[in-house]
């Protein structure tokens, strides 16, 4: 009885402090056997019209609103111009765009690499700290509750603990001879700038972005999964240019992903002792293909912005 209360007390005391800590330190790639872009038989999440009109339905709708327009509906936790749905297309439904229905049933997840188990709440908190360059919402607070309810609802009928086809972003093999930043810039100018702007700055309507920024102060930070060139290439190949997913050759997807990720963006919040080198060694050296701490055009990347 006594130990129980102390534990609870410690937890509740601990939260405000922990909120500024890193919720999910391991942001390395989700290793998935799935990702068969040719398959058309994906899990079908329920339709919006099937959502019950009760308190549960309202919580799910709140979660959807946060996911689609994060800055308006969870402003305290967002530090850039992005929304969750910018990277998880079709409001978190699209197969091969890291859909929520394929994620929800895979947590708690054990990672051998650092011998840790991460809960779904921690995964969501990680997205806020890295992809959204913000703060982790309280694990037992309303934002995580709403996002979890939305994910749970999308996963209605999905088997628990079984990896579904269409999870994450399907890997695109790296071109022989590596990637080429100059060619990536050409792809960018021809295929991306019309929406994302000549300098990756995005385009707004009113105060909110319609076309999200790809680099710079309003984009994802150096700790986000999208900073890996291989992950960005996979996302881009499958989803960009918007409405024309799957049309870029693998090589173009890699080159333009590398070009995008060869620009400065907000610092990795896991920065160790203010040292890019130490942070690179601990978190980036073995995390896919990335340019954090590398010298590009005579400048070291990863200083933050």
């Amino acid at each position: 009885m006594k130990t129980h209360t102390t534990a609870l007390l410690l937890m509740s005391l601990g939260f405000p402090v922990l909120a500024d800590d890193i919720a999910m330190e391991d942001q390395s790639q989700i290793l998935t056997g799935a990702g068969d872009p040719a398959s058309s038989k994906y899990f079908q999440p329920p339709k919006e019209s099937e959502l019950p009109d009760n308190t549960y339905g309202q919580l799910v709708q709140q979660g959807r609103a946060i996911f689609v327009d994060t800055k308006t509906h969870a402003p305290d936790y967002v530090g850039n111009g992005l929304a969750c749905a910018n990277c998880h297309l079709e409001q978190g439904r699209k197969a091969n765009s890291a859909p929520l229905w394929a994620a929800y049933t895979m947590y708690p997840a054990y990672r051998k690499k650092n011998d840790k188990v991460n809960s779904y709440a921690e995964r969501l908190q990680g997205c806020f700290q890295f992809s959204m360059n913000g703060k982790a919402p309280e694990a037992d607070g309303p934002v995580i509750a709403a996002l979890s309810a939305y994910s749970y609802w999308l996963a209605t009928g999905a088997p628990t603990g079984q990896e579904l086809s269409g999870r994450a972003y399907p890997e695109v093999p790296q071109p022989e001879g590596g990637y080429d930043l100059a060619k990536g810039e050409q792809v960018y100018d021809a295929q991306c700038a019309v929406c994302h702007g000549p300098n990756g700055e995005g385009q707004k309507s009113g105060d909110l972005y319609v076309f999200p920024p790809l680099w710079g102060a309003d984009s994802f930070n150096w700790g986000a999964g999208m900073h890996r060139i291989n992950t960005a290439a996979a996302f881009i190949k499958e989803n960009m240019p918007l409405g024309k997913g799957g049309t870029l050759p693998d090589e173009d997807a890699w080159n333009v992903a590398a070009f995008m990720n060869s620009h400065e963006r907000p610092q990795d919040p896991r920065l160790i002792d203010g040292s890019v080198e130490k942070t690179r060694d601990k978190y980036h050296a073995n995390d896919g293909v990335n340019l954090y701490g590398e010298i590009v055009n005579g400048k070291m990347l990863g200083k933050g912005i």
Binding site: E48, Q61, R64, A65, V68, D69, T72, H73, A85, L89, E90, Q91, R93, K94, A190, Q191, V194, C195, Q203, K204, S205, G206, L208, V210, F211, P241, L242, G243, K244, G245
Partner: protein, 215 residues
Amino acid sequence: MNVPLWPLAGLFLAISVSAHAADAAAVYSKGGTNPAAMACATCHGAEGEGMAAAGFPRLAGLSANYMRKQLADFASGARANPIMQPIAAALSHEEADAVSTMLADKPQPQVERIDRTALVDGPGESLALSGAWDRNIPECVACHGPSGTGVGDAFPPLAGQSAQYLSSQLTAWRQGTRKNDPNDLMGQIARSLTEDEVTAVSTYFAGLTDKGAAK
């Protein structure tokens, strides 16, 4: 000592601005130097508000660069239309430039902001706010902005245009007479729509007002 010069500078500025504006206004209401460049106001309305029943589009508040590009595309034939092609071809560069700038400064219609978080009702709104991703069709507002009010120079507003005009353009892409969009971004979407969807989504955007969507 410098102070007395200011009113003069202001006067000078006012003269040069109004000289420029007079040009554009004359082209708009009386036509260009070449008589084939007919007065725009005849079809696009005194204030550029368009003529819904005839399917003549609104021009007030569109991006100047978007209009310049459309006039150049009519002139070159990249956008085919029997009415506008000879008119655009007869406009000089300077006239096209001036009239586009003038029209861009006019007010856009006020519509309530409806974005992807709204609950969708009906097939038109569903396409507009959720798309039809099983056929790779993104929601219209992902490119045309919330309520379809337009974004930057490349994505024109849909709100404020009539259903007749909107559906005529979607049909033009489906039939291949309009193919001037960057990288076929719009063409491949229009070609994936059914006729019923063209009608529903055109009616939806045409019905947006400052009080939201027509229900």
